[in-house]
Symmetry: C2
Subunit: 242 residues, 2 copies
């Protein structure tokens, strides 16, 4: 049984404003929920049509119709959890860090978080105008990767000013990524979907990387930002083996 107050709270979390205000976000489906719990994200409340396998988790049993009322999905899964957003820590990191400059599309952000997980990148730095990683669409698209990749929202300019490693940016004009020598410790900056890396951030780059175009048409659009991130992260990994 869910109260009216709970329904109101949970559905409000589909909006960033209320996620920011309450420090809460929702995740749906047993797999995603269990991965977030296992990674130490603090559970606020859990609603499920079935008893949860993990007995340590207190579950409110609800009907499918009740679950649909609070779900952000067109067709609800069997469980919905409310979590507390983890505290933001910009850690002392090493290896490769990916930084996003105003990535606006939640789908692109979700894809990038998932590929960071695959490539063992633990910290993703986002400018404050990047899409919210606690947007329900991102939480679902990342398939639990959000439990393993720490996402921090920062003043990107200030963050890069304090960086002690080379700062690489994905640019249309730069060094061919296939011939560039990439270091083990670096930051890779990926820019906005339409305008690329912003002017201010461009000035902070120490290196500019380009994925060469093999097609010969001048009409070809640049690669989608998630696609380009995949290729560049893969190139850093092949170069450094870590």
């Amino acid at each position: 049984m869910i109260s009216k107050g709970q329904i109101k709270l949970i559905t409000s979390l589909q909006q960033k404003k209320y996620r920011d205000k309450t420090g809460l976000f929702i995740a749906e489906g047993p797999k995603v929920i269990q991965e977030l719990v296992a990674s130490g994200v603090r559970l606020h409340s859990l609603f499920s049509t079935e008893t949860f396998e993990d007995a340590s988790v207190t579950t409110t049993i609800v009907t499918a119709a009740e679950l649909q009322k609070i779900s952000a999905l067109t067709t609800a899964n069997t469980a919905l959890a409310v979590f507390e957003k983890p505290e933001q820590t910009v850690p002392h990191y090493e290896g490769l860090t990916v930084a996003l400059d105003a990535i606006r599309d939640p789908g692109n952000l979700g894809t990038i978080i998932r590929l960071c997980d695959w490539f063992g990148i633990q910290h993703l730095i986002c400018s404050t105008d990047t899409a919210d990683c606690y947007n329900p669409k991102v939480v679902q698209a990342t398939m639990g990767s959000l439990a393993r990749v720490t996402v921090s929202y920062v003043d990107l300019k200030e963050f890069l000013q304090n960086a002690e490693v080379p700062i690489y940016g994905a640019m249309l004009q730069g060094t061919n990524v296939y011939t560039a020598q990439m270091p083990t410790n670096a930051i890779l900056v990926m820019g906005n979907e339409s305008r690329g890396v912003s002017e201010a951030i461009q000035q902070q780059l120490t290196h500019r990387l380009t994925i060469p175009q093999f097609g010969t048409s001048k009409d070809t659009e640049s690669l989608n930002v998630a696609t380009a991130t995949a290729i560049l992260v893969s190139e850093f990994r092949r170069a450094t083996g870590r």
Copy 2:
């Protein structure tokens, strides 16, 4: 002015059944339309709220409200065109060919077509159960790349039987792509979003390629198929320089 019959025809083209029956598909927005015209795709009819720059194209001027009626977009652009689907030709090709085995998501197909365009891959081969590239969502997502990449739907098993080049497949278990030697002429097979390359097609592979996982969690989902395609195509390009 649009007739009722035209409205009925055009809106029916949002369904594959009617695209197959009529051999027609729709594209929206002046940029996409002009690229398709320029690449030789035959125009059937064109509706626009403004006169088209290209005087060779006969335009029916319509109101924004009329255009919205026939549009597949939530907010219509300024023009919608009906095109004839190009004849399918499985050409004599060389270099790298990408083959898709039951890719179901139109968004993934659109991303793959766009990256083929960037990497100069002119022929994309699809199993007959792959998403339809003339789906309005794919046409819009490819941003005109559909004008430069020829997409053919074939019996993939039969197609691969007749292949005279090595057949590489993207697999979870295979040769590390960073250490593999890739040839200039090859087919790269990418499998379905959930089950990967099908059993029957696996038997036709001459090589299995894997993108190594750097993260250490066993819970990590495999890379999204469009992301994996980007990384593998990039690796073929870096290896062969063409």
